[in-house]
């Protein structure tokens, strides 16, 4: 193979578009987001991030359970009280544990309990953290992380 032939091959290769990464599957990312919301750590486990998924699966429901044990309340969806509504949305971030607790009638709260506000804090923060975790799973599925 002569020098001219090698040069023309180089020119051709350089002119070809670089192979692109496979298009991010937005459906898969949305599934990871939904699974991550429903089951804390579920999105990471589904994406093969086992260590992270297991930690989230243990820590977040434990926080939620401690919140219920401390007699915190699951805030009602009351549009007349915006702050209560925000707390309700944060509680909803817990996913399936929230739904189970709501159906089972847990999370009524006891306002006079010394630990009432501690319980609320655990419930709200666990929901907000789970939202962050679910968004992280979404980013992982899109290949951003």
């Amino acid at each position: 193979m002569g020098r001219k032939s090698r040069d023309s091959r180089r020119t051709r290769v350089a002119a070809e578009p670089a192979p692109t990464a496979p298009a991010a599957d937005s459906g898969r990312a949305l599934a990871a987001l939904a699974l991550g919301w429903a089951i804390p750590g579920g999105g990471h486990l589904w994406l093969g991030r086992r260590q992270k998924g297991v930690v989230f699966l243990l820590a977040l429901p434990l926080m939620f359970a401690i919140g219920l044990w401390l007699e915190g309340a699951l805030a009602p969806f009351d549009p007349i009280q915006p702050l209560v509504l925000l707390a309700a949305l944060a509680d909803l971030g817990n996913g399936v544990p929230y739904l189970i607790a709501a159906i089972a009638g847990l999370g009524e709260g006891r306002v006079v309990a010394a630990t009432f506000e501690y319980g609320n804090t655990f419930l709200i923060v666990s929901g907000l953290l789970n939202m962050l975790v679910a968004l992280d799973a979404y980013d992982v599925a899109l290949g951003r992380k």
Partner: protein, 57 residues
């Protein structure tokens, strides 16, 4: 829970753990960040508690 301080320790521990695992990929880095966040939470909580002590509820 027997004490408010214990409640704060448990809260700080769990939040630190979740943040560290979320933000770092290596177990060693996760442990280091978790410890740092936990210490920051506890020290800040105690300092704020002392600062707020003179204020009546």
């Amino acid at each position: 829970m027997p004490s408010h301080f214990l409640a704060m320790l448990v809260f700080a521990g769990l939040v630190s753990l979740v943040f560290a695992v979320l933000l770092r990929d290596e177990p060693g880095e996760q442990a280091r960040l978790s410890g740092l966040l936990f210490g920051a939470f506890v020290v800040t909580g105690v300092v704020l508690g002392w600062i707020l002590l003179p204020f009546p509820l």
